[in-house]
Symmetry: C2
Subunit: 481 residues, 2 copies
């Protein structure tokens, strides 16, 4: 059964039967060249274990075609059975809801390949993919009605407070002595991960996949360099064809004592070299930033609570700023996981209005230790509906660059749209300086109550605007068409 | 009528009649040496204008005696009438409520001369002393029931938003052409200022007198250097004997374009040289700090909203940190004057628990532009009672040094008292690490509701404590006697 068509930005796969003897993970090279007219795309394939009757091995090579029309391929391999196979397929137009992969559009902002702006409203469920089918299905159900467009999640299981359960799958075969065979991946582990990523893709959620992290009792955090590298080859070969992939080198890279800065740089360059689609790449800090200015970093992935610095980081790195972790809504004893819903909502507005992107997470005490931030499940907090409201507001406007002074709305060439947020301030009036030659409408937005009130009339030039005199209010100023 | 006794830390004054011809402000030198046993204190005197029948000039020289017992004096002057006069008085013990002047006690904290700790709970009414008797009386009435122990106020009137009224007094005589005679002070101006400072003293409120400021339409901000210096001599000679004096070189020194850094350094050194009592000296910033590390600065006087940096500034300057301006409670259009009462209360707790001191101000829109921050009058906000509550909590405990980690209460030698504040965090429990060898009581303090709830039982060693799961809660941990 050969695939003869593939939707644009979906997956075309060539699956071939090949050798099982020796160690296919080490012994067999496999890949393909896909061509579209005179254009050629080289991709690596991967070994996916034995077929059902264990008579042969399954080798797969994948393409995410980005142009409609005819594509051809030729495989290459060190194994004769896998070498020189040719074929082709027709790439059909993307169907509704398939906007393609996300890339940096204009220095600070994201866009899908079809030109739709992408607003990164992230959430974090670090190891939702290691909780078994029932809870994983529940998590996807929750996400269906949630406002999030990106999920931070780990390849490997996590050993940490509230996350001590043993995962169903491990990434390596287990030897008779109970230890990992670091030379043999466990295809079932990666097949399951892939299903989870496909589940997110079907909800139009980007999978910000954390490749390494420090919270470990199995050895994933301290693998030898050659295993790290083999893992990167394997996971990029398997997953890069998913249009919703993002690569996060680490969660809290600076806490991983076994890795050096040279390792991090090498990981980035390896992924950059292998990924034909150049999915977003970043590295998330605990205390100290990885240098987001390095050329292989596509955007800042930041753990910080001081969202008022978002425009400084934009200026400093001149890349999109994604504050993936600004602490979590919840009530656990740790300060990183016990801010109020009001505070989380405030931080989202602060970050977005400054031209950045902010990530959510929830950490409410739970009798069975099911905290959204780690395992997924259902949401318990009150910030998610406010984040949905913010998303509606953001998606109804252009992707914005922050004002250097909030109230002089004449300062930039963009004189059609302004969004200002007053945060902890509660003025009863503001003087706006609008361009003289246009008329503007003004909406007063209560970010907590989720109301939008249009002020009477239109405004122009310097004008005073009455306000409700309470905190957490935003103003939206739009030119009359 | 010669004064023969003076209360300790009150004022002993020698008033003599002397020449009026020429310009007494420039032509006559006058001062005295006060002695107590073998100790001598040199002070400058000042010319206070003519007597009632204008037949002669009044010259005054003042001492704030700091030791009980017999004091003698001898005057010195370039005028024969004022030179070589001798006399004495008996210094009697301080009466109840008179704790003497405030000085830095132990690097980071304040103490009155009688050993009573001073907790600096400041407020700001920049020019309450330029509003006429009725409102000035009203301001003092308000302060009687308010929690404040320090007032930031200016010598000179202020020209700024909400403060455009013409003052009753000016500091200089006015010439026929309407301009100031910069060689002749107006004694009535300074007599009135003195009454205001005495009014504060009678309420046990420190007068943090701002000597220069940029908000001016009369010329006070741009006087020639020799006039600045004469003014400093005059004001120190007149006011230093008030036990509640503090010298603030400026409000927002960095906005005063006519002054150089050399000027600021010279002002400090001039005051330091002249003031026999070494009242506290500081310099308040707008955007950029004056270097509080300079040796003539007694404490940091800071305008900033990021109270979480208080312990950093303590470490950096190793002096008391007074955040005199952390924005004001109110609802005016400017962000420096429209934070909520909740936010002001939060900033006070944040600053105090980090071992610093915080200042208040109120800027609610008023039909007659009477804003507390500028003119005084009455309080309209909701933070003042919460600041009173915080003051009660602080005064019931020792002056504290902040914990470097909030929850390891064993970290310092001081194992009898800990105050931790959770700010925007809302944990339902915390694990405390207390010393193993003592028992502790724990109070849960709701900083907004102003309640203190004692937890049942006593605690020791590592222990988990249930908490209300709401923001703005503090814990007070005290060793059982």
């Amino acid at each position: 059964m050969t695939q003869t068509t593939a939707e644009r930005w979906d997956i075309f796969e060539v699956a071939l039967e090949g050798p099982t003897e020796g160690n296919p993970f080490l012994d067999v090279t496999f890949g393909a060249t896909f061509t579209h007219g005179h254009r050629a795309v080289e991709v690596e394939g991967f070994y996916d274990g034995v077929n059902d009757d264990r008579s042969s091995g399954i080798y797969r090579v994948r393409l995410m075609p980005d142009e409609v029309g005819e594509w051809r391929y030729t495989t290459r391999s060190s194994a004769a059975d896998l070498d020189g196979k040719t074929g082709g397929f027709t790439c059909t137009p993307a169907e509704e809801g398939n906007h393609g992969p996300v890339h940096v559009h204009n220095t600070y902002h994201w866009q899908y390949a079809d030109g739709t702006p992408h607003f990164s409203f992230g959430t974090t469920c670090y190891v939702w993919n290691h909780q078994g089918d029932a809870m994983e299905t529940q998590t996807l159900e929750t996400l269906k009605d949630a406002p999030f467009t990106k999920m931070r999640m780990c390849t490997f299981p996590k050993h940490y407070t509230y996350s001590h359960n043993e995962p169903e799958y491990h990434a390596f075969e287990i030897k008779d002595d109970g230890t990992f065979d670091l030379e043999r991946f466990n295809p079932a582990f990666f097949q399951h991960l892939e299903q989870c990523i496909a589940g997110l893709r079907d909800l139009n959620i980007e999978a910000d996949l954390i490749l390494f992290h420090p919270y470990d009792r199995w050895g994933y955090a301290e693998m030898p360099s050659e295993v790290d590298d083999r893992y990167l080859h394997y996971i990029v070969a398997r997953l890069a064809a998913y249009r919703n992939m993002w690569w996060s080198m680490a969660n809290e890279f600076d806490l991983m004592k076994a890795k050096s800065m040279e390792d991090w740089d090498r990981f980035f360059k390896t992924v950059q070299t292998l990924d034909p689609y150049q999915h977003p790449r970043s590295n998330h800090n605990c205390r100290v930033f990885y240098d987001h200015g390095k050329p292989w970093v596509t955007h800042c992935s930041i753990q910080r609570s001081d969202l008022e610095n978002v425009n400084r980081w934009r200026d400093e790195y001149r890349k999109p700023v994604v504050v993936d972790e600004c602490q979590y809504e919840g009530n656990i004893p740790f300060n990183w996981g016990n801010i109020s819903a009001q505070e989380m909502t405030h931080r989202f507005w602060e970050g977005f209005v400054r031209g950045g992107y902010v990530g959510h997470g929830e950490t409410y005490v739970h009798p069975d230790d099911v905290l959204w931030w780690s395992k997924g499940g259902v949401l318990h907090g009150q910030s998610a509906p406010r984040i949905a409201f913010l998303r509606e507001v953001m998606e109804a406007g252009p992707q914005i660059d922050p004002l250097t002074t909030n109230w002089n709305l004449t300062e930039s060439g963009d004189d059609v749209y302004r969004l200002v947020y007053m945060g902890r301030h509660q003025p009863v009036s503001k003087t706006l300086r609008l361009p003289e030659d246009r008329q503007y409408t003004i909406d007063v937005i209560d970010t907590w109550e989720m109301t939008i009130s249009r002020l009477d009339g239109t405004y122009s030039g310097e004008c005073s605007v009455g306000l409700p005199g309470k905190p957490h209010v935003a103003l939206r100023v739009r030119a009359v068409e």
